[in-house]
Symmetry: C2
Subunit: 223 residues, 2 copies
């Protein structure tokens, strides 16, 4: 089936304390976004890309696209005011049935293996949301006092959140709601269930300077 | 009120791939456990310590205790088969009313400020459980399919878990149960509620080699 990776790189990275959008920071000499795209290419050599970039930074990906030689199968789209609006902008470019991977551009250590497993699960159940079980105790706040939850039931959600287009595209026609923190919540609000699959602890999100150093270590460990 | 820090350092650290118990690994030239104790001493110069160590490593803390000059107010206890049994062993040494801080020996970056806030909250409400709000989306597993939870309600629990002795000591007279993942769950099983307070994102737990490198970076950032 057709495969499309929608990579959300529209953030402006104010937690990093720098001007460069964080998805363009360098890890082992290449932008974070490069590492994401490379993993998708390793998983599937017939995949297309929709890159969602900050509106003022649309030209910033040109060198990267040339380097990866994906110009012929890449569409660039400007980000919106929220993740929902950014992804919605990207999904408008999709016109044929596909498996759609929506991926955080700052999860640069995603493995080709995880991407393939997301595809296979989606072909079976319509969706695949990678998540890892919490290794910490978790509690739910209940107005000052709190209640514990069995941590084996608590899943920390990652990306690529993967869906059949027939499930994802109609869900993104809904009006925006504050509870839309990721694509899974959008699909659920449209009355559909989503399937979890085992994520990877190393599939971290780079949001603070310390995360970038951590990614360097994890990459060195692997190399 | 009397203050006692029960520091759980009974683990044998098999995830680190080394023989040294991880609470004795060095950070900036001092064992992790040293950093924990130092923070409690900075918070309260009249605090006593109960150190829970691996049974085969009871002598391993001698140099550390001498270095910190806390021999006169430190009791060493052997760890048990679970965290519950380890803490239970330590609590048996407490005979007078106190504020008891139960702290992971591998959370070496706990700040004196957090320790003081735990004390103050406990004097008001009987307990204080530091926790940070999740920055990731969280889902609850429901047999293959899953359901999202508002992440603002999801708290990742840290230590020192702090209690009045009149609340904590009777709770630890219960029979052991698999759901006792920390002291808060033990106290709740005894029919009491616990109060959450704002933890610190840098108050990380050192369980893998990469965590130790992260702690070094966080320490350098602070210094």
């Amino acid at each position: 089936m057709k495969k499309i990776a929608v990579i959300t790189a529209g953030g402006i990275g104010n937690r990093m304390g720098i001007d460069t959008p964080k998805q363009f920071l360098l890890l082992a000499g290449k932008p974070l976004l490069w590492h994401c795209i490379q993993s998708f290419l390793t998983a599937f050599n017939d995949i297309d890309f929709i890159l969602i970039l900050p509106a003022h930074y649309l030209d910033g990906a040109e060198a990267l696209i040339a380097d990866l030689q994906i110009g012929h199968r890449t569409t660039i789209v400007a980000g919106g005011s929220t993740r929902f609006h950014s992804v919605q902008n990207g999904l408008k470019k999709i016109e044929e049935p596909a498996v759609i991977f929506v991926h955080d551009g700052v999860r640069c250590l995603v493995s080709p293996n995880l991407i393939k497993r997301c595809y296979e699960q989606t072909m079976q159940t319509g969706s695949a949301i990678p998540a890892v079980v919490s290794t910490d105790s978790i509690r739910l706040d209940q107005g000052g006092y709190s209640q514990s939850i069995d941590r084996n039931l608590v899943h920390i959600v990652q990306t690529p959140q993967t869906f059949l287009s027939e499930l994802l595209l109609p869900a993104f026609e809904q009006d925006y709601c504050d509870s839309f923190t990721d694509e899974a919540t959008v699909v659920e609000a449209a009355g559909k269930k989503v399937a979890l699959i085992e994520g990877e602890y190393r599939n971290i999100k780079i949001t603070r300077p310390v995360d970038l150093l951590m990614a360097e270590m994890l990459l060195a460990e692997k190399g």
